[in-house]
């Protein structure tokens, strides 16, 4: 019984090598230390930390969280300690692991994005960036960078010029044509794309007739958004040639496999961490068991193996 070979779980996303395809999604795993009692961080494929801006941000007024059927809305408002405190207080802990650390960065102007990227680019212990472009561009009247192919192009191009580190761009699902955004992000020089960020939503208290979130609207995450995320990943992998990382509603190994089969090179686990703090590790174990059961020696043989016509599954 023990003559089976352990399947290969390692993948590459652009020039980044990961021991397995499971990452933590930004904003759902803090800076790693919050979950260190539950998760051996060395076992993760990569860790993506909370969205980081140039200056500390205090975030939105509470309530910031409301549960909806099979999902949750959040309006955290990108509260974070700022890039300097991140380097000083949060990074030393993360450096003690072998797992690649990616910093999710965002700004209100293109300048802010490039300043953070160049500041972090000089620091030891960071493997790459995830660019959150689901933020309003204050310099351009508050339109979200990521909903317009031209402004998405500009911000990615500017960051690309300031850093040689791995650059992944995280797309917002709140757009009519995800493919055109993905294409312009690729043209601007991104190494990879991750999607999706949360879907804008709302909830009302019918007794008080007030919005349930202090910020009125928020971002929907969790199992409720998985079908949308999966469809968007499918559209992007079908039309854009750079690697894609799937995010959205992944709760267990079966959900993760759906994204991999559709063509995602890796996946991120978000809301699931809150419900099961060991979700990432359970997903890694579940994927490995599935590969053994199916006699698949290398996870790369599974990625993108979606069978579109009957009988095409080998």
């Amino acid at each position: 019984m023990n003559d089976y070979k352990k399947p290969n779980l390692s993948v590459t996303v652009g020039n980044l090598s990961l021991k397995n395809p499971v990452m933590t999604a930004s904003g759902t795993f803090g800076y790693g230390e919050e979950y260190a009692d539950f998760v051996d961080i060395n076992k993760l494929g990569a860790i993506i930390v909370k969205g980081t801006s140039l200056k500390a941000r205090c975030g939105n007024p509470p309530p910031r969280i409301v549960e909806t059927p099979c999902g949750m809305l959040n309006s955290i408002g990108l509260q974070n300690v700022g890039v300097k405190a991140f380097i000083r207080e949060k990074l030393p802990f993360l450096r003690s692991f072998s797992t690649p650390v990616m910093v999710n960065i965002f700004g209100e102007t293109i300048d802010e994005y490039t300043t953070i990227a160049s500041e972090l680019g000089r620091i030891h212990g960071i493997s790459g960036f995830e660019l959150n472009i689901s933020c309003p561009n204050v310099g351009a009247g508050g339109i979200i960078f990521g909903v317009d192919p031209a402004s998405a192009y500009k911000v990615v191009e500017a960051v690309r010029k300031t850093t040689n580190l791995f650059l992944m761009v995280k797309l917002s699902p709140n757009v009519t044509d995800i493919v055109s955004i993905a294409q312009s992000v690729k043209k601007a020089g991104a190494d990879a794309i991750s999607l999706i960020n949360t879907i804008t939503g709302m909830a009302i208290d019918i007794e008080t007739r007030r919005p349930k979130l202090g910020n009125i609207t928020g971002g929907l995450s969790g199992p409720a958004i998985k079908p949308i995320a999966l469809r968007m990943v499918w559209e992007v992998v079908s039309h854009v040639s750079i690697p894609v990382v799937g995010v959205g509603g992944i709760m267990d190994w079966k959900d993760a496999l759906e994204f991999l089969i559709v063509g995602a090179r890796a996946i991120q686990v978000g809301t699931a961490n809150f419900i099961n703090p060991r979700a990432t590790l359970d997903i890694i174990d579940g994927i490995e068991k599935y590969l053994i059961d199916k006699g698949i020696e290398d996870i790369n043989n599974l990625i993108g193996s979606l069978a579109l016509s009957e009988g095409s599954l080998k």
């Binding site: 759902t28 205090c58 969280i65 509260q79």
Partner: protein, 270 residues
């Protein structure tokens, strides 16, 4: 912090919509202190999705392997919880957050009195504090219990057994004096010999008032707060309240990690 997949030891109804559940979790029992809380996953389904936060109600028995939660059925999650039976599986994370701090007892001095002020469910964490203070023989305890009706006055028998001083008020006068619990507290504070610390848990307006009263009397005050929570460990930043800093500035802090117990005089109540 631990995540334990464990079982229900008992689950009793203790009032019209109040229940007490016992959960087997030696890891949590041995590391918890009064005022800390747990996050409970009431079912393995995806709806309700998030864990629910509950104060640790009883942990005092040193040799015990289980702890208790006192809860009120208010929605989907607590409804499911109330239907659990002995032996059913349940998933808990804890102990979480910072609990109450009890001042060390100075040698050669008579033990000091502390006041515990509870509105409704507020007794859930305060009972753990009372029990620990009494059992260790460190403090004398006076408990002020407030509720809408006599049905909302919980743990009376347990408190009597502990032998603490008890004051009761109900808004409809069906038990104790008629009125709100902060009135009782104010009356008691008229008598000289102030308590060492006032500890409070209950609805926000009540906590705000207790904080004001304690400030006027120059008595330290600790309050246990609630907030909507997703992670319970400081990762999501969803559970914030406003805290006053020096120099008149304010900041958001996590209830789950920096609290749920706070110095009342540093909290900026809504």
């Amino acid at each position: 912090m631990f995540q334990v997949e464990t079982e229900v030891v008992f689950n009793h109804q203790v009032g019209p919509s109040y229940y007490k559940i016992g959960l087997r979790a030696p890891e949590i029992v041995h590391s918890a202190s009064p005022g800390q809380f747990v996050m409970v996953r009431v079912s393995s389904k995806l709806d309700p999705l998030l864990r629910r936060p509950f104060s640790i109600h009883r942990i005092a028995k040193k040799d015990s392997v289980s702890f208790e939660i006192l809860y009120k059925v208010v929605g989907k999650g607590t409804e499911i919880m109330s239907s659990l039976r002995q032996g059913d599986g349940i998933d808990v994370m804890g102990p979480l957050g910072k609990g109450f701090s009890i001042l060390p007892h100075p040698k050669d001095l008579p033990s000091q009195i502390i006041y515990l002020v509870s509105g409704g469910m507020g007794i859930a964490p305060l009972y753990a504090l009372a029990e620990s203070a009494v059992i260790d023989g460190r403090k004398k305890v006076a408990v002020f219990l407030g509720g809408k009706t006599k049905e909302d006055i919980l743990c009376l028998d347990d408190l009597k057994r502990l032998g603490v001083e008890i004051h009761i008020s109900t808004e409809d006068g069906s038990l104790g004096s008629k009125g709100v619990v902060t009135q009782l507290l104010e009356e008691r504070l008229q008598i000289p010999s102030n308590p060492e610390v006032i500890y409070a848990c209950g609805p926000i307006p009540m906590l705000k008032k207790v904080s004001l009263i304690s400030q006027e009397c120059h008595i330290p005050c600790q309050v246990s707060l609630e907030a909507y929570m997703a992670c319970g460990v400081g990762a999501c930043l969803g559970c914030v309240i406003k805290k006053r800093l020096d120099k008149g500035t304010e900041t958001y802090v996590n209830v789950c990690k920096e609290g749920p117990v706070f110095d009342a005089h540093a909290v900026k109540f809504p």
